[in-house]
């Protein structure tokens, strides 16, 4: 059965790109969310195998959403999406339980590999 993924990003453009990349890799997109609040709610409902989580978002940042997701499911597999120059934030994300990072602009091969590793790892 295909692994499920939830894609969280406030930009529709970014979500579409990630969806195309991950669907191309055989993932099933279980949900998309456009802000931190929505991410937490939808995570609770659909419990995806893996979540890609943008850091800079309205209504709760990615880091805050990550913390809540980790309390809902301490075993949650979350890949943070960050932009260059957000190194300080990646440290707190790791601390909060993020499994990996992908950096914008996305390199499709790299994104696919990282997400797959996190799901299988």
């Amino acid at each position: 059965m295909a692994k499920t993924v939830m894609i969280v990003d406030d930009s529709l453009f970014m979500r579409k790109m990630l969806r195309d990349i991950l669907e191309g890799e055989g993932f099933e997109v279980a949900a998309e969310a456009a802000d931190g609040d929505e991410a937490v709610t939808k995570f609770r409902d659909c419990r995806p195998d893996v979540t890609t989580l943008d850091i800079v978002m309205p209504n709760k940042t990615g880091i805050d959403a990550l913390r809540e997701i980790m309390t809902i499911d301490p075993a949650a597999r979350v890949v943070m999406c960050s932009a260059m120059g957000q190194e300080t934030l990646t440290a707190s994300a790791t601390e909060a339980g993020a499994k990996a990072f992908i950096v914008k602009p996305f390199n499709p091969e790299l994104v696919a590999r990282v997400v797959r590793e996190v799901v299988e790892g």
Binding site: F13, K104, P108
Partner: protein
């Protein structure tokens, strides 16, 4: 990965972010420390950068990155959001907008980003932003009129000396001819972005022209030349339409201020634990930028009152056979040259009789006056200073806090406030406002040595009384208007001048509304109604309470315009 499939999505989302940035900049200019807007602006620039990087549009990345960094300094570095930053951000959105147009036209998005990134990096607060990138680069600016003179100027200008010199803008190469033609075909040259100072200047000039028209009319009358009169009146018509057109340019949709209301109503409701629907109607209606700015506080006040006092809690609502959730509605509509803004709720409403009782108890009105108040006038009692802030009144009226301030600001904008209410059913507050402010009609009156203007929006009518029509009741003088007694006040006295003598036995006055009641304001003489171009008084006179501005009459005389709401 083939990125071209994402191009349209990129374009539409990027344009949305640009619009968003524009709105947030405007919002921050009003309240520069608004956290939500600062965060929102940062996010928009950040997202733009990320998207553009994915599309490999390097110039867009560079500009957006600069804007993002600037907002990080504001957010985390204590850099105050000032006009200079606003200008830089708007300049950045203009640059990106141009780049997006290139993308849309299937061109490689490359523009003269010039020294924008450098200026953003080195921005110091306090200094206004260095001059904007030459208009020739602005998207949609007509190529030759904007581009060429600017280029000529730069060529003629000597190297700017001194420490204030900024790196001059990148060479002003006109955009290549072919792409321009293509864009023109694509119909993208139909909009031009103009700085607001330029618009203000245009309005100033139009105002001066109208003042001058009155001067010409005076001369024409002296000369007694019908041909000249005809020509002037024809000119007057043209000026009227010029004025209307210029004013239209300044109109901005109500939308630019309404998001804040959505936010504040939501948090207010949360704060008092009430559930409500908030409806917004007519976001697209245009109002003068200046009026929009002045509307924020009064509307916030009215909305706060509606949530705090107007709406009942859900228990009380259910008991009254209403839905648990209350409704607060902010509706904007047009009525010829006026704009109506109505805040209504389906709450407990206001009871005129109880308002009157409370006013009596507070000693704000006499028994005699109380008996004469119509229900509508009784509701307007909530606008009396002192009365409106009284706690017990707030409770009985379900309204009140700061309504005097609301009423005063509405009148200052040349508008009127209408309160309607049905006990148990709800209330509505309607602001009837002019779309534009700079040109008003005013009644010119004489008081002793002074000639002053009174906006006709606050004049119900003018009356000439014979002395024997004035009655004295106690210390008050009154006259009867539509069989209702109306108190008389002397404008001379209000302005601290000696009282008028009225040698002809005729007492001229105009009727206005003060503290919810009609009053007759007696003056020495009426000079008729004039069309005035209102000018601000500037420092130090702007601090003088009771004056709303000044104007130049056709004969060159200067008059001040009274702010009756403040004076009475």
């Amino acid at each position: 990965m083939d990125m071209s499939q994402y191009r349209n999505l990129f374009l539409s989302e990027a344009r949305e972010y640009l619009k968003n940035i524009g709105n947030q900049v405007v919002a921050l200019e009003e309240s520069p420390s608004d956290r939500a807007s600062i965060d929102g602006l940062f996010r928009a620039a950040h997202s733009l950068k990320g998207m553009a990087a994915s599309m490999e549009y390097q110039d867009v990345v560079e500009v957006a990155h600069g804007m993002e960094d600037l907002m990080i300094k504001v957010r985390d570095g204590g850099l105050p959001f000032d006009a200079g930053i606003a200008d830089l951000l708007l300049e950045g959105t203009d640059l990106i907008d141009g780049l997006l147009n290139d993308v849309a036209a299937d061109l490689v998005p490359r523009r003269m980003v010039g020294d924008f990134p450098a200026r953003v990096r080195s921005y110091q607060p306090g200094g206004a932003a260095p001059p904007q990138a030459p208009e020739g680069e602005a998207p949609g600016a007509p190529p030759s009129p904007a581009g060429q003179p600017a280029a000529a100027e730069t060529a003629a200008a000597p190297e700017p000396p001194g420490p204030l010199a900024t790196p001059s803008a990148a060479p002003l190469a006109a955009p290549p001819a072919a792409p321009l033609a293509e864009r023109e075909q694509a119909g993208e040259l139909i909009t031009v972005r103009v700085r607001t100072e330029l618009l203000d200047h245009l309005i100033n000039l139009t105002g001066e022209l109208i003042t001058n028209k009155h001067r010409l009319l005076n001369i024409g009358r002296e000369l007694g030349s019908p041909e000249l009169d005809d020509a002037i009146s024809e000119n007057g018509k043209l000026l009227r339409s010029l004025h209307d057109e210029v004013m239209k340019v300044r109109l901005m949709p109500f939308e630019i201020i309404c998001d804040r209301f959505q936010r504040s109503v939501r948090s207010l409701a949360k704060g008092v634990g009430k559930e409500l629907h908030f409806e917004l109607e007519g976001r697209e209606i245009g109002l003068d930028r200046g009026i929009l700015e002045q509307l924020i506080d009064p509307l916030n006040h009215i909305l706060r009152n509606a949530v705090d006092h107007g709406l009942e809690g859900s228990q009380e609502r259910l008991a009254a056979g209403k839905t648990a959730k209350g409704l607060v509605k902010l509706a904007v509509s047009r009525d010829r040259d006026r704009v109506l803004i109505t805040v209504s709720d389906d709450g407990r409403g206001m009871d005129p009789q109880r308002m009157i009782e409370a006013a009596l108890a507070k000693g704000v009105i006499t028994q005699d006056e109380a008996e004469r108040l119509s229900p509508r006038q009784a509701l307007m009692l909530s606008c009396i200073p002192g009365f409106s802030t009284a706690r017990e009144v707030t409770e009985v009226s379900g309204r009140g806090v700061g309504m005097d301030a609301v009423n005063a600001s509405v009148q200052k904008m040349g508008g009127t406030l209408i309160i309607e209410s049905e006990p148990g059913k709800g209330s509505s507050f309607t602001l009837r406002l002019p779309m534009t402010i700079a040109i008003i009609h005013a009644l010119i009156v004489q008081c002793g040595p002074l000639k002053v203007g009174v906006p006709v929006t606050s004049v119900h009518r003018t009356v000439e009384l014979r002395r024997d029509q004035v009655e004295t009741i106690g210390k008050r003088q009154i006259f009867y208007l539509d069989e209702e007694p109306v108190q008389l006040l002397s404008l001379n006295r209000v302005l601290g001048l000696p009282l008028g003598r009225f040698p002809t036995g005729i007492v001229p006055l105009f009727v206005t509304e003060a503290k919810g009641r009609r009053v007759g304001i007696v003056v020495d003489r009426m000079h008729g109604q004039h069309e005035l171009y209102v000018k601000p008084l500037g420092r130090p006179l702007s601090k003088l309470v009771g004056l709303a501005g000044g104007a130049i009459l056709g004969d060159g005389e200067l008059v001040t315009i009274l702010d009756l709401a403040d004076l009475l």
